[in-house]
Subunit: 439 residues, 2 copies
C-alpha cells in the first residue's frame, strides 16, 4: 500500500544530528504536512510513498535547518553602521543614539524582515531573538515563515519601547499571551544583561520563569569590564550573582561567556546552563574569545549565535561554525578538536536543546518538524569532496545553500526565496539607511 | 580629441589602495591594452574617451585585484582530504603519503587549474605559489590568464619532483630561464622551511638571491615546535638562524610567523622582512595566531595568504582578510585596530610590495597593470551600505564578486568565468578524488 505524502527529498548525504551523529548516504526524507514522517534508503522510498513533490538532490548534503541561537534581528538596519570604532564609542556615539532616534514598531518589523531573508538564504530555520517590540519581530517571522523564539526583553532604563522593568515585563507577557499556540513563535524571558538589570528585576524574572516554566535568554560575561564591574559592585562575578539569585539552571541561555574563570565554569557546568557562543561578534567588538572546547569537555551544552548585524555583520551560521571550529583548534593547538560533527551539532541539536525544543527540532528524525536545509557541494569551491561534512564546514559557504524547508514548507528553492520579494526588502533597507545616515 | 581605449569601468566606489588609501565615489577607470590609463570622475569620462566596452557598475565597489601571497595551488586536489586530525597524523598519515603517491606533472597542472578557477571567482588576480613542478603551475596560470609568482622550491629530502637540493635548484632555475619575460609569470627562490633546508642549502640560496636579485619565499616560524626544535639543534630560533645566514632582508617573504618573541620581531622589523599572514591555515592546523597588529605597529609589511586547500580549505582572500581583522581586534581587545582600509591594503598593495612588484600591481593608479575586481554590494547580505569598505570586509562574501580583469583582460563577467569550462574542471577534481580516495 503506497502512502500519499507532501514531499520526498532524496540526497547524497544526510547529517541527521541525532544522538549518534549519523551521516546517511543515498537516503530520502519523507515529509507529511509539517513533519518528517520517515527516513529511508532512496532505493526503497518509492515502494512506500508517493509525493506531490520530489526533490532529487544528488549533489547535496542535507542537515537539520540551522538554529541561530542569539540574534537581535531588527538591527540588520544598522548593519555596518559603526565598524572599526572602540566599544565605548560604538555604544555611546553610534548604537544608542541611533536606537533612541529610530527604534520603533516599523524599524523592528522592517529590520526583522531583512534579517530573516538573510537567515533563510544562508540555511537558518530558527532564530533566538532578543530586542524591543517583540510583536513586530513575531509578525515578520510569521510573514516570512521562519521559526522564532522571541525574548521578552527587560532592563532598568527606559527606551522607546518601555519605561521601566514592570512595563517591559507587562508588555512582554502580553505579547506572549497574544501569540500562545502559534506554530512558529515561542518566547523566553530576556533580562538584557546583569549590568542592565537589578537584583529585584532578576528576582521577579526568576519567579516568572519558575511559575510559567519558561526559558531565559540573557547576555552574560560578554566583556572583561562587565566581570570586573560586577565584582566591584556586587562582590561577585555576574555568573555568581545569577547563581545567588537562582537564575542558573538548564532553562538559562547565556550568550557570550567570553571571560569565565574556573569557578564560573564550574557553576555553568553544575547548573546545566546553556552557553551560546558568538565568535564573530566577540572578536569584532574586541570582547575576546570564549574557550568553548573547555566547556564542551565538561559537558556544557554549547550552541552558536551570530549576534546582531551591528556587530558581526553576518547572520550566517555556516560562517559562525567554521570560525568556532578554527578558533578552538588554534587557541588550543589541537587541530583534532571541535570536529565537523560536533560543531554542526552546536548549530542544530544543541541549540534546540537550549531552547527546550529538542523534541520538536534540531535533528532529522521521524516525528520532528520538517526544518531542513540542503547545501550543494558541487561547486568548484567544494570539489573534490572527500568528506561532505568537513567539506561543508571548512570550504562551504552560503552560496551553496539551495533549499530550505521550515515546518514542511519550502522557503528557498534553487537558491531563490519563495514568495519573498527581495527587491522590496532591499529598498526598505536603502530607505532606512537614507534616513539614519543623516543623523 | 577623444581617445580610443579598450574598456571603461564606472563604479559607485573605487578603493585605490594608493598611498593615501583613497576611496573614490562615482569614478571610472580607463583601460588601454593591459594598463590603467586614467582614473577620473564618471561624469567626465566620455568627454575624453571612447571604449570598445563600457561597464556601468552602479552597485559595485572596485578594488585592486586581490593578491594571495602564500599558496600551494596544486594541493586543491587534496582539499578536505584530511581535516580534524592531529598535525603529525595530518602530515605523516595523509599529506606526505598522498604526495608521494600522486604528485606528478599532471597532478600539479590539474590542481593548479582548479585552484585558479576558485581564486578568480573570489577576486584574486595574482598568487604567490610554492610547490613542485613549477612549470605546470605556470602553464595553468597562463592558460587561465592569472598572474603568478612561482617559488622554486628547494629542500633536502627527495620527492617525485627532485632528488636533492642541487637538483631542486637546477630544475627551478631552468624553469625560471624558460619563462623569463613572460607577462604573467615571475619567480622567487623558495627554500621550503628552516627545518627542511640545511645551512649549506640556505647559503647557496642566499647567494643566488643576491646575484640574480631575486625575492625569496619561505615558511618561517609556523609552529611552536619548529622554533623549539631549532633552538635545540642550532641554538637559535629559525629567524635568528636566517639572520646569521644573511637571508633576512626586504626580498624575503616569510609565511606564518605565528610564534615570534620580542627579539625575533625586532629582527623581522630591522631587516624589513615581509610577513605573510595565513590566519585560517594557522588555526585549522592548530599552529596558533600571528599577532600582526604588533607587526603593523612596528611598520613591518604584512600581507595575506590562504595557504593550501589542504589546510584552509578556501583560497578566498575576502574570508582571510575578514578573519585577520577579527582576530587582531579580538586578541588585543581593540575593535578599532586592523580597520577596513588597512586590511584591504594587506591583500593588495602590501602583497605587491612584498613581491617587489608594487610599481606594477597592488593599487589602482595610472600606468599600473589593469588587475581589478568589482564586487556587488546590492545583495540582501550587503544592504544597507553605510560604508562600502566595512560592508565588503565584514559582511561581503565571494558571492558578490562579479567582475575580474587581469592584465586588462576580463576573466570574470557577471560572476561567470570567461572562456573557462567549469564542468571540465569539476570533472578533473572528481576523477583525481576517485583515484586518491582508494589509497
Amino acid at each position: 500500500m503506497i502512502k500519499k505524502v507532501n514531499s520526498i527529498i532524496s540526497a547524497s548525504w544526510i547529517f541527521t544530528a541525532d544522538k549518534n551523529n549519523t551521516l546517511l548516504e543515498d537516503h530520502s526524507i519523507v515529509i507529511l504536512e509539517d513533519e518528517i514522517l520517515d527516513i529511508l534508503p532512496t532505493k526503497n522510498v518509492f515502494d512506500g510513498y508517493e509525493a506531490n513533490e520530489v526533490f532529487a538532490l544528488s549533489e547535496h548534503i542535507i542537515m537539520p535547518g540551522f538554529i541561530n541561537n542569539h540574534t537581535h534581528a531588527a538591527m540588520s538596519l544598522l548593519k555596518g553602521f559603526a565598524n572599526d570604532v572602540p566599544l565605548k564609542s560604538w555604544l555611546e556615539d553610534y548604537i544608542w543614539p541611533a536606537e533612541k532616534e529610530y527604534v520603533s514598531e516599523a524599524f523592528v518589523k522592517d529590520g526583522s524582515l531583512i534579517a530573516i531573508a538573510e537567515m533563510i538564504k544562508s540555511g537558518t530555520t530558527t532564530f533566538n531573538d532578543m530586542y524591543f517590540y517583540p510583536n513586530q519581530t513575531a509578525e515578520a517571522a510569521v510573514e516570512m515563515g521562519i521559526r522564532a523564539n522571541i525574548g521578552l526583553v527587560v532592563m532598568e532604563f527606559p527606551t522607546n519601547y518601555a519605561s521601566d522593568p514592570d512595563d517591559y515585563l507587562k508588555k512582554g507577557l502580553d505579547f506572549r499571551d497574544q501569540w500562545r499556540g502559534d506554530g512558529l513563535i515561542s518566547t523566553s524571558l530576556a533580562p538584557h544583561a546583569p549590568y542592565t538589570t537589578s537584583d529585584k528585576t532578576l528576582n521577579t524574572i526568576g519567579t516568572y520563569a519558575d511559575q510559567l516554566n519558561m526559558t531565559i535568554h540573557t547576555h552574560l560575561h560578554e566583556t572583561k569590564e562587565e566581570v570586573e564591574n560586577s565584582i566591584n559592585q556586587y562582590k561577585a562575578t555576574p555568573i555568581q550573582r545569577y547563581k545567588s539569585l537562582g537564575l542558573l539552571g538548564p532553562n538559562l541561555m547565556a550568550a557570550h561567556c567570553t571571560h569565565v574563570d574556573e569557578s564560573d565554569l564550574n557553576l555553568l557546568h553544575q547548573n546545566n546552563v546553556n552557553v551560546v557562543h558568538n565568535p564573530s561578534s566577540n572578536l569584532i567588538l574586541g570582547s575576546g574569545i570564549a574557550d568553548i572546547s573547555k566547556m564542551l569537555d565538561l559537558g556544557i551544552n554549547v550552541s552558536i549565535g551570530t549576534d546582531s548585524s551591528a556587530s558581526n555583520n553576518r547572520l550566517d551560521v555556516l560562517e559562525e561554525v567554521r570560525l568556532a571550529a578554527l578558533l578552538g583548534k588554534g587557541l588550543n593547538h589541537q587541530p583534532e578538536i571541535l570536529d565537523s560533527k560536533n560543531v554542526f551539532k552546536m548549530a542544530t541539536y544543541n541549540a534546540a536543546k537550549a531552547m527546550n525544543k529538542s523534541k520538536m527540532i534540531g535533528s532529522i528524525e521521524p516525528n520532528k518538524k520538517a526544518d531542513i536545509v540542503a547545501i550543494n557541494l558541487d561547486s568548484i569551491f567544494s570539489q573534490p569532496v572527500y568528506n561532505p561534512l568537513t567539506s561543508l564546514l571548512y570550504n562551504g559557504n552560503q552560496g551553496g545553500v539551495d533549499y530550505v524547508w521550515i515546518n514542511g514548507t519550502i522557503k528557498l528553492k534553487s537558491g531563490q526565496l519563495e514568495n519573498i520579494d527581495l527587491d522590496r526588502l532591499k529598498n526598505i533597507a536603502k530607505s532606512w539607511k537614507a534616513k539614519i545616515k543623516k543623523t
